[in-house]
């Protein structure tokens, strides 16, 4: 089924069919009705390759970084649903945690000539030279692009600093004074850096000490790495009563490892997560964590991109989406 077939079947010419399909003006109601009926009857769907070959620029590329990241998966679903309701088409590219998203994006940019690019997780800015060659609007979701010079780049994320500060406040207000942190590489991950800054804000505010070398353990975002990190952390630093982790999965891994070492959570050590995965409310103990709003991140992110595409030379936007503090059972009150 091509528009040629529809044209033949409906008695109109391909031009008219195309106009109807694209909701263009100057088509009679008769033609519109007839053509739409024929198209529907024959399950006609446009060949997007041909369409995009012709009108380059109604296509959005989505890059997802982080295999099997539950949070991103669920945001992705929402985004795709919304894109379906616009004039744009999209496709998804999955990247490994160690792939270079800027390089991949650049390749896609050349090959597909998208109107815009959505980055789910990851931060292409780290590879500036590649990234700056991309001349279409981009949006970072769950990540932030704060003091960025690149005017193509918007971002929609959670206020990591505030959230981290709040959850740390909670730990301290429950009587914990010697805290450990399991987090990302603060020199290479801006999310980790921000969460750490929030943590530090709280620590300082309460007049506590924090020795980075002793009390911080750098790790990747996985169950396994959370587990090994907590082992290293408690072996190098005595007397920690609570651990702030930068992701639910690390928290779960850490709890598992502590259990295996005969250390109970939260009786002996308290732990907090970050992200608010559904799962965290089914494990034992229920995790105290920060829930990021998947639907809001998705909706606002896409909206920002479409805005940027339609209005060229616009200032890029940087939004923070409200989060939710979830009080679980993984923190013990010790005062």
């Amino acid at each position: 089924m091509t528009i040629k077939d529809i044209a033949r079947l409906s008695g109109y010419a391909v031009g008219t069919v195309s106009r109807v399909l694209n909701d263009h003006p100057n088509v009679s109601e008769t033609a519109r009705t007839k053509i739409l009926a024929v198209a529907k009857e024959h399950h006609f769907v446009r060949n997007t390759n041909a369409q995009q070959l012709k009108q380059q620029g109604r296509y959005i590329a989505i890059l997802v970084k982080g295999v099997s990241n539950i949070l991103l998966n669920s945001i992705l679903e929402i985004i795709q649903k919304h894109i379906g309701e616009t004039i744009y088409t999209s496709s998804v590219f999955v990247l490994d945690e160690y792939d270079n998203e800027a390089k991949t994006a650049l390749k896609i940019y050349y090959e597909k000539r998208p109107a815009g690019i959505i980055f789910l997780g990851g931060n292409p800015q780290r590879y500036e030279s590649d990234f700056n060659k991309i001349k279409v609007p981009c949006v970072l979701i769950t990540n932030q692009a704060p003091n960025v010079s690149n005017n193509n780049l918007s971002s929609v994320g959670t206020d990591d600093v505030k959230a981290a500060e709040q959850i740390t406040d909670y730990l301290i207000e429950n009587g914990h004074t010697k805290l450990g942190v399991i987090g990302g590489d603060i020199n290479n991950s801006e999310i980790s850096e921000r969460r750490f800054n929030g943590f530090l804000n709280s620590v300082k505010k309460h007049g506590l000490e924090f020795d980075f070398d002793m009390q911080y353990q750098t790790t990747k975002y996985s169950f396994e790495d959370g587990a090994s990190a907590v082992k290293q952390l408690i072996s190098k630093c005595d007397g920690i009563t609570a651990i702030f982790t930068m992701g639910d999965v690390q928290a779960i891994g850490a709890i598992r490892m502590l259990n295996d070492m005969g250390i109970s959570v939260p009786k002996d050590i308290s732990i907090t997560g970050f992200d608010g995965l559904l799962l965290t409310q089914y494990i034992y103990p229920r995790l105290t964590t920060i829930r990021q709003s998947e639907s809001q991140l998705a909706k606002c992110g896409l909206a920002a991109l479409l805005e940027a595409i339609s209005k060229e030379d616009e200032e890029s936007v940087h939004l923070l989406i409200p989060y939710e503090f979830i009080e679980g059972e993984s923190v013990l009150k010790i005062n």
Copy 2:
């Protein structure tokens, strides 16, 4: 930059350029070197829209049945990654657990004219009349298409019967005689049916009784449904000491609920899972479960489809991928 530009710049014609780019024979080494050099110098990248417009029928549709199914998600990722390395493109259609996959597939078949269709979960054979209209190779992944007449249809799955039997044997050999089952609808899900048959094999082999109405609880594949199912199960049937669940997520939901009711796993009730999600080895207690090989399922499934696409009139294949029995801590030895 188009191949036309490259042709002009290199002094050859577009045909030759195309041949070089596609590694076709009948090109002189001189031409190849020259053209490649020019292409590289100008950062030329093929326009995939044009390429695929030309090469129709290089599209694979993937139908995923069961929203937010972690196992399928993870298989999906692997498949997409592999497809990216082939000449094919793909897109994904997500179906609800109760949608009719044959109907959807047929619609996609008409609309998109894919070269092949992958079914992740679900079984379109149940709707034969619709499914038989599909005239391109299909492959079922995680499911089986045993005595099937349809020669388009291959399958790559786990030996559910044997796996279920083995894990049930384990329960019984640990002294459990009154077993509960939390599983899918055995009248509508062949996977559930097979797992139940494996379970029954073991039960009969050991001379135990099983009252379906009392001891079986039908449920969907989610944390939440696992939680509510276990509640119903233990309220309608006294004295169950072990529960065979047909999915890890139900098992996790069930454990959570039992905990909330003051029932400890495995001290009071033992539980087994099915699927072998990574997660199951990080929760408390570690789940005793069956690990399906995601990567093997993905790789073999895609390979089977591509094979079937390239060689028409080939006999379809039906593979069983080895599984692994994982002994966790969720089963108590009571004899």
